[in-house]
């Protein structure tokens, strides 16, 4: 059998992530949150394929988190899967409305309009505190799991493996999506949109599909993060959070689905330990890391890995590295 570094290393990473909480229980919540964020980053990566960057994708993260929280509150505790489903549906619904508007714009305007919409949502969350709890947010009670009430440790363990499975599933589906005809059309928006239209394809509709997919991924991540954290705050929809998603996407490598999770695991690890040991300057450390990645490894960690193993990770990462 051929020993292939390109398949062995990712499998080892997945295995390590799956086993780590058993060996070091303190890392479990951290990993759950990192993977939830990774799902949102995956959404950002979908849009990056079309060369568009959204500085407001925390909107969908926040919409879904709040929807999940409301379901939890409205039905006395709530049930995990219905919370996730309603969270994702809510962000999909919002993404259709917002998407129809923003896909008419490109580049900076696309980014700025997303930012504006997310800021509107953020301010609404802060201002209407009788509904949303204002800047204190809402607490999310531990939901039932398939109708079973669970203890804290057991639930956190179940939630972690659920997130892991969902992350792997989402990564695989997104990979399939990006290599499907519509995924390729999205990449054409980046390289040459007019040519795409000459082929008779509507660039706006293509981008809209990508936008909805990316919002769905952000929504899944948001609802999971809300359950894992046990509290939702307007900070979920803040623009710094959106910037963080884009940051992680570039850090991990915007060309491949694996980059989203490698990036978010690394990011959360650096953030947690940097804020513990270098409280005042963790943001500075992250900024410097980001600068180094962009200047010296523009295709991110996965791009670096692909270069080290001497192969191209995928056609997409090659493009992102240009």
């Amino acid at each position: 059998m051929q020993f292939n570094l390109r398949t062995v290393v990712p499998s080892l990473i997945v295995l390590a992530v799956a086993v780590l909480p058993l060996l070091a229980p303190t890392t479990q919540v951290l990993l759950t949150l990192a993977l939830s964020k990774g799902l949102a980053v995956l959404g950002v990566i979908v849009l990056l394929q079309a060369g568009q960057v959204s500085f407001g994708h925390a909107l969908f993260f926040g919409v879904s988190a709040y929807a999940a929280a409301f379901v939890g509150k409205g039905f006395g505790g709530g049930e995990l899967f219905s919370m996730l489903a309603i969270g994702v549906v809510a962000s999909l619904a919002i993404s259709v409305v917002v998407g129809l508007f923003v896909v008419r714009y490109r580049h900076i305007f696309f980014g700025m309009l997303n930012l504006a919409v997310s800021m509107i949502f953020f301010s609404l969350l802060e201002k209407f505190y009788h509904v949303t709890g204002g800047s204190d947010g809402l607490s999310v009670a531990r939901p039932l799991f398939l109708g079973i009430e669970m203890e804290r440790e057991g639930f956190e363990m179940v939630l972690f493996y659920l997130v892991l499975v969902l992350a792997l599933g989402a990564a695989w589906l997104t990979h399939r999506f990006l290599n499907s005809p519509i995924g390729n059309m999205m990449r054409t928006i980046k390289t040459n949109e007019v040519r795409l239209e000459y082929l008779g394809v509507s660039a706006r509709n293509t981008l809209l599909v990508g936008y909805i997919v990316s919002a769905g991924l952000c929504g899944l991540g948001g609802a999971l993060a809300a359950v894992a954290q046990g509290v939702v705050t307007p900070e979920y929809a803040w623009w710094i959070r959106s910037g963080e998603f884009v940051f992680i996407a570039i850090l991990g490598g915007s060309g491949s689905v694996g980059g989203a999770f490698v990036g978010s695991l690394l990011y959360e690890a650096v953030r947690t330990y940097a804020s513990a040991f270098a409280g005042d300057v963790w943001q500075m450390i992250l900024g410097i890391v980001l600068l180094f990645v962009i200047l010296f490894a523009p295709s991110g960690i996965t791009g670096l890995f692909a270069r080290l193993t001497g192969r191209k990770a995928s056609p997409a990462s090659e493009e992102a590295g240009q």
Partner: protein, 301 residues
């Protein structure tokens, strides 16, 4: 809404618009020339405010005249532009002009993150409040309303002079024309011997100084605290996008529109205060996708 409140809302709006304009015009100038949307722009605003408030507090405590606040603001603005802005363009931005837009924005986002912590390290997390300049100018009475002369006269006057000065500078002076030439076509400008790198550097320093100047002026009217840069950058983005990227006169009008919209919201519907800038921007872009004064670019195949 009685006439007095109406006038108050207008005064508030104009004073606020003047400050926002100073920041937004720097942002739009930098974008117009460098084609880089500078996320770190809000940090220059915050640093200008911090520098003025902290140094001001020290010299006024030592018994110097409060009128020194005005030259101090100018000095602080220029220093922030040169010492902070200069190296950022020279060492960092100059390497990324060939990169794709997303990465350029992210580089300035990284600079923003770094500068946020730099501010915290230098000035701490305690808010500063230093209103000597505001007091020194006293109050004026218009339509039976007492208002500070600083906000009602000085701020709009400064904003208008910056607008006129910038226009004259770009159209009438040699350096201004060089900037316009590089904006129009960098390659052609370079080929006739214009030092484009220097033009970029000077533009960035001027833009950064304008933001810092806005911060310096704002420091007399509000408490200076962490997070003020982040709030300002999002707001000035809204102004710049509403006006159309790179539009200097447009930025003045958009700042006024957003400033007035915001101050009327404060009196009529306070919950909407924060939303108004974004709602105005969304409405404008819905009707005019390139902003109020933006020109649509031809598509290249």
């Amino acid at each position: 809404m009685n006439p007095q409140l109406f006038a108050l809302a207008i005064f508030d709006g104009i004073a606020y618009a003047a400050l926002v304009f100073l920041v937004a015009v720097g942002l739009t100038l930098i974008f117009g020339v460098l084609r880089v949307l500078n996320v770190a722009h809000g940090s220059f605003y915050a640093m200008g405010a911090y520098a003025t408030a902290s140094v001001g507090a020290a010299i006024f405590a030592a018994g110097y005249s409060p009128w020194l606040a005005f030259p101090l603001m100018l000095v602080a603005a220029v220093l922030v532009g040169v010492i902070v802005g200069g190296p950022i363009e020279k060492l960092l931005l100059s390497r990324i002009y060939e990169m794709e837009e997303v990465l350029q924005i992210l580089v300035t986002f990284a600079v923003f993150m770094i500068l946020e912590d730099v501010q915290r390290l230098i000035w701490g997390a305690q808010p500063f409040f230093e209103a000597s300049a505001l007091m020194a100018l006293g109050n004026v009475e218009v339509f039976g309303i007492t208002y500070t002369a600083y906000q009602l006269i000085l701020l709009p006057a400064v904003a208008v002079s910056v607008l006129i000065g910038l226009r004259l500078f770009l159209r009438r002076t040699l350096s201004g024309k060089l900037i316009l030439a590089v904006t129009e076509d960098r390659e052609a400008a370079t080929s006739i011997g214009i030092n484009a790198e220097r033009v970029y550097l000077v533009t960035f320093i001027v833009g950064a100084s304008l933001a810092a100047f806005g911060g310096a002026l704002a420091s007399a009217t509000t408490s200076v605290q962490p997070g003020m840069g982040a709030d300002m950058i999002v707001l000035s983005f809204a102004v710049v996008a509403t006006a159309g990227l790179g539009q200097i006169e447009g930025a003045a009008l958009a700042a006024l529109l957003i400033g007035l919209g915001r101050s009327f919201a404060i009196y009529l519907w306070p919950e909407l205060e924060v939303l108004i800038p974004y709602l105005i921007m969304l409405l404008v872009l819905l009707i005019r996708p390139e902003g109020l004064f933006g020109k649509s670019r031809t598509r290249k195949i």
